[in-house]
C-alpha cells in the first residue's frame, strides 16, 4: 500500500507498517534509507503510530484563533550579500548556487 491509498482496507490501520511503506514515505520525504534502516523503522513506527492512535479519543475542540496578521512597512533594507548567501553552498558558479539536474 501507499500512504495515498485512503481505502487500503485493514492495512490502513495505525500500527501496520511494513518496510515497503517506510521506503515509500522516505521517497516522499527525499531521504534514502538502507534495508536495515527501513526494517528497523517499520518496527518502531508500528509502536509509535499505535501510540498516536489514542488521538482518536480526542473530542473536537473549538479553538479561537489567537493569530493576527502583523504588517510592517515595505521598505528596502540591507540583506545578505550574494557572497554571504553563497558562502555555505557546497558548490557555486558565477554567483549562483550550483545544483544537480532537476530531472
Amino acid at each position: 500500500m501507499t500512504a495515498t491509498d485512503e481505502g487500503a482496507g485493514s492495512d490502513a490501520d495505525a500500527g501496520v507498517v511494513d518496510p515497503d511503506e517506510v521506503r515509500h514515505v522516505a521517497d516522499l520525504a527525499r531521504v534514502d534509507l538502507d534495508d536495515e534502516e527501513a526494517t528497523a523503522f517499520a518496527e518502531q513506527f508500528a509502536d509509535v503510530l499505535d501510540y498516536f492512535a489514542a488521538l482518536d479519543e480526542v473530542p473536537e475542540v473549538e479553538d479561537e484563533p489567537d493569530l493576527v496578521n502583523v504588517m510592517r512597512a515595505d521598505e528596502v533594507r540591507d540583506g545578505l550579500s550574494q557572497e554571504e548567501a553563497l558562502a555555505n553552498a557546497p558548490d557555486s558558479e558565477a554567483g549562483f548556487f550550483k545544483g544537480p539536474k532537476v530531472s
Binding site: 500512504a3 495515498t4 491509498d5 485512503e6 490502513a12 495505525a14 517506510v22 514515505v25 522516505a26 521517497d27 516522499l28 520525504a29 527525499r30 531521504v31 534514502d32 534509507l33 538502507d34 534502516e37 523503522f41 518502531q44 513506527f45 509502536d47 509509535v48 503510530l49 501510540y51 498516536f52 489514542a54 488521538l55 482518536d56 479519543e57 480526542v58 473530542p59 473536537e60 475542540v61 473549538e62 479553538d63 479561537e64 489567537d66 493569530l67 493576527v68 502583523v70 510592517r72 545578505l80 554571504e84 548567501a85 558562502a87 555555505n88 553552498a89 557546497p90 558548490d91 548556487f97 550550483k98 545544483g99 544537480p100 539536474k101 532537476v102 530531472s103
Partner: protein
C-alpha cells in the same frame, strides 16, 4: 569542579558540553558584563559555525547573529562557545548529537537530559555562568532538572526566534539556563522583547492585537514592562499553587517525595496549594509529537545539499537530495521527518494532524481553567531521575514518554520554569512551575522561593 579545570582542559572536555569552543569578549558595559554565556548550537552566531549537532551542518558558518546573540553582545556578555545538543533539538538525553553524547556533571555515567544538554552541563560544571537553550517540548527544563540548574521556557512570543534554526516553529522558544533563578531571570531580561525580524514577538494589544492579550493594558511588548530579575524576591506569601494530579501520579515515587517536600516548604512560606485537574494531558504527548514531527518534516526540507548541507553528489536532483539527507541526518532526525511526512500525507492528515490540533486546543483550554483557580501550577519537571547513557536510545517511544510533564506547556504556549527541588539517590530533582501567558514574573517568584 575545581577552579583548575578551566575551559579547554581535559577535565572540562570530558563532558563534551561544547561542540565549538570560541571566546568572544565584549567590552560593552551592560547588565551582563563579566558574565560568560554558552549558546546552544542551533542559535546562529556570525562567523562561528552552528551545527545543530548534525553532520549535515558540520561546516555551516552563519553570516549573521541571531537576535538573542546580538542582545547578549549588547548586554556585555562574553560568549564562551557553542553548546552540544541533540541533533536539531530532537531528543531528550543529548545522545543523538553527531558530535557525541554529553555527560552529566553530577554523575558522568548519566545523561544530562536534552536537547539543551550541553547548555545545562556547561552551567552545572561551571564552564559558563549562563547558557541559552531552546525548548520545543521541554528541551530547556528537562536538562535543567537532570543537571540541577535553573531553566526557563518563556511564553511563546516573548523572545525572538530570529536566527534559531527551526525545528517546530509553533512550539519552540529560546530560554535561559543558570545556577540561580535570579541569574536566569537576568538573562531573560536581556533577551526578551519585540523584534521586527520575528513577527511572532509582536504584541500590540491596544491596537486590537492578539485576543488573550487583554490582560496587558498598554500597547507595549510585555517584556518592556517587567523586570524579571527583580521578581526573584522569594515573596510567595498569599500565592495559590495548583497541583495537577495527572502530572504527579505518573512520576516515580522518589521524585514525588522530593516534589511534595518542596511543596510543604512553600506552604510554610504562606503558599496555599490546591488540587487542579488537566484531563487533556493524557493526549498531550501524542499531539505534541504529531505536531512537532509534522513541522520538522517541512522545516528540514531546506537541507538539500545545494544551499548548505552535505553535498549529495551525482545523479538528478531527487537522487542527490535524498543521498545528501541519508548521509547528513542521524536516526532520530530521519525517524521524525518520516513520521511527520506520514502524518501529513493524504489519507492520514485527519487521523493524526487534525486530531493533534484538536488536542492542542483542548490542552490550552484545560490550562486556562486550571490557571483560573491558581496563580501558578506546580509539577515535577521530569517524572524520572536522569537515566544512564544508552538506556533509552533504542526505544524511541519510552524516550517520548519522558516528556509528559513538559510538552503540555509548549502546546499551550505558556511560560514555565524548572528549579532544583532537592535530590533523590544523589541525583537532582526539578520542580516545574507553569504560569499564565506572559506571567513570567509569577513563576520566577515561585521558583526563587523554592531555592531559598
Amino acid at each position: 569542579m575545581s577552579a583548575d579545570d578551566a575551559p579547554g582542559t581535559d577535565a572540562a572536555d570530558d563532558l563534551n558540553a561544547f561542540i565549538t569552543r570560541e571566546t568572544v569578549e565584549n567590552d560593552s558595559d551592560g547588565p551582563l558584563a563579566g558574565k560568560t554565556v554558552a549558546v546552544k548550537d542551533n542559535i546562529s552566531t556570525e562567523g562561528i559555525r552552528t551545527t545543530c549537532g548534525s553532520a549535515m551542518l558540520a561546516e555551516y558558518v552563519p553570516p549573521y547573529d541571531a537576535t538573542v546573540v546580538e542582545r547578549l553582545r549588547e548586554a556585555g556578555a562574553t560568549l564562551v562557545g557553542k553548546a552540544n545538543m541533540d541533533e536539531f533539538g530532537m531528543g531528550g538525553t543529548t545522545e543523538t548529537s553527531a558530535f557525541g553524547p554529553v555527560k552529566n556533571p553530577v554523575d558522568p555515567e548519566r545523561v544530562p537530559g536534552g536537547s539543551s544538554g550541553g547548555s545545562a552541563a556547561a552551567v552545572a560544571a561551571g564552564e559558563a555562568d549562563l547558557a541559552l537553550g531552546s525548548d520545543t517540548g521541554g528541551s530547556v527544563r528537562n536538562p535543567a532538572a537532570f543537571c540541577g540548574v535553573v531553566g526557563i521556557k518563556p511564553t511563546y512570543g516573548l523572545v525572538s526566534r530570529y536566527g534559531l534554526v527551526a525545528y517546530a516553529n509553533s512550539l519552540e522558544q529560546i530560554g535561559p539556563l543558570a545556577n540561580t533563578v535570579e541569574d536566569a531571570a537576568a538573562l531573560l531580561d536581556a533577551i526578551a522583547g519585540p523584534d521586527e525580524r520575528d513577527a511572532t514577538t509582536r504584541y500590540d494589544a491596544a491596537e486590537g492585537g492578539a485576543p488573550g492579550a487583554s490582560d496587558v493594558s498598554d500597547d507595549t511588548h510585555p517584556a518592556d514592562a517587567t523586570e524579571y530579575a527583580a521578581a526573584a524576591d522569594g515573596d510567595v506569601d498569599g500565592m495559590t499553587v495548583g497541583v495537577p494530579t495527572e502530572l504527579v501520579e505518573g512520576a516515580d515515587d522518589e521524585v514525588v517525595e522530593v516534589f511534595e517536600d518542596a511543596l510543604a516548604d512553600l506552604e510554610s512560606k504562606g503558599v496555599e496549594t490546591v488540587e487542579v485537574s488537566l484531563p487533556s494531558v493524557e493526549h498531550a504527548v501524542q499531539a505534541y509529537y504529531v505536531i512537532a514531527m509534522s513541522e520538522a518534516s517541512s522545516n528540514l526540507a531546506r537541507f538539500d545539499g545545494v544551499r548548505y548541507g552535505t553535498a549529495g553528489g551525482e545523479g538528478n536532483w531527487n537522487e542527490s537530495f535524498a543521498r545528501s539527507r541519508e548521509e547528513g541526518f542521524g536516526d532520530e532526525v530521519k525517524r521524525r521527518i518520516l513520521l511527520g511526512t506520514y502524518a501529513l500525507s493524504a489519507g492520514y492528515h485527519d487521523k493524526y494532524y487534525k486530531k493533534a490540533q484538536d488536542a492542542r486546543a483542548w490542552v490550552k483550554r484545560d490550562f486556562d481553567e486550571a490557571l483560573g483557580e491558581a496563580d501558578v501550577l506546580a509539577t515535577p519537571t521530569m517524572p524520572v531521575l536522569p537515566p544512564k547513557r544508552g538506556e533509552s536510545l533504542d526505544d524511541p517511544l519510552s524516550l517520548y514518554l519522558m516528556d509528559a510533564n513538559t510538552v503540555p506547556v509548549n502546546l499551550a504556549n505558556l511560560p514555565a520554569i524548572s528549579v532544583p527541588a532537592g535530590e533523590a539517590e544523589g541525583l537532582p530533582v526539578g520542580l516545574q512551575f507553569v504560569g499564565p501567558a506572559f506571567g513570567e514574573a509569577a513563576i520566577i517568584r515561585a521558583g526563587s522561593a523554592v531555592e531559598e
